[in-house]
């Protein structure tokens, strides 16, 4: 785990319904659980996530930051 901030660790550990017990039909078949995108909808958590990334990535070396997807699964792409 690449998270150092204990507040973010606790928030992710206690976030309700982070995983949902629901079958999800993907392009590869069924999986029985999904991940709640709600966790990144909370500004406080999003701020903590962003802070962790600034520790991992030297953004001064990046010209453009492009949002790609909320999920990597093409079935769930937004």
């Amino acid at each position: 785990m690449n998270i150092q901030n204990p507040e973010l660790i606790k928030r992710l550990g206690t976030f309700p319904n982070l995983y949902t017990l629901v079958p999800v039909l993907t392009s590869y078949g069924l999986i029985p659980a999904d991940f709640s995108r709600g966790v990144v909808g909370e500004p406080a958590i999003l701020r903590l996530i962003a802070e962790e990334f600034t520790r991992l990535i030297d953004f001064s070396e990046v010209d453009v930051v492009a949002g790609i997807d909320l999920s990597g699964d093409p079935e769930c792409s937004s």
Partner: protein, 134 residues
């Protein structure tokens, strides 16, 4: 990161626009395992191989399993749910009941009073598996 498939597609589109993708940052790194069905999931292996050779840096904060274990540690989810979540991204675990995961799934759904949707029951019947008999 869905086995790099979508990232591959997006990286190609950005390249068409003249941009070079040097890094990908994801909150959760999904560790996918499809070993038993390499032929079926060949595109996944191809994409992963592309990503490995691409030189693109991957930054992630937590893996899918680590997050599931974090939720278990804090008492947010129970052990049976944790086991299902930990294996959720192993597509081959849900192809049949060879490793007993379908049985675990049915029990977990029952324990949490989550009704099994008809399309799931029908999906497995089409594969010759009657979930009601597991």
């Amino acid at each position: 990161m869905a086995a790099a498939k979508t990232k591959h597609d997006r990286a190609l589109k950005l390249e068409e626009l003249g941009a070079k993708v040097t890094g990908v940052a994801v909150l959760i790194y999904g560790e996918y395992h499809v070993d038993r069905f390499k032929e079926k999931y060949q595109d996944v292996f191809d994409s992963q191989a592309w990503f490995d050779k691409s030189g693109i840096d991957l930054s992630y904060l937590v893996t899918w399993k680590e997050l599931a274990d974090l939720q278990l540690k804090h008492g947010t989810i129970e052990k049976d749910f944790n086991e299902i979540v930990r294996e959720a991204l192993h597509w081959d675990a849900w192809e049949d009941d060879g490793e007993g995961y379908l049985t675990k799934m049915v029990r977990c759904f029952n324990n949490h009073n989550v009704p099994m949707p008809d399309y799931v029951t029908d999906y497995y019947i089409s594969k010759g598996i009657d979930l009601g008999k597991l």
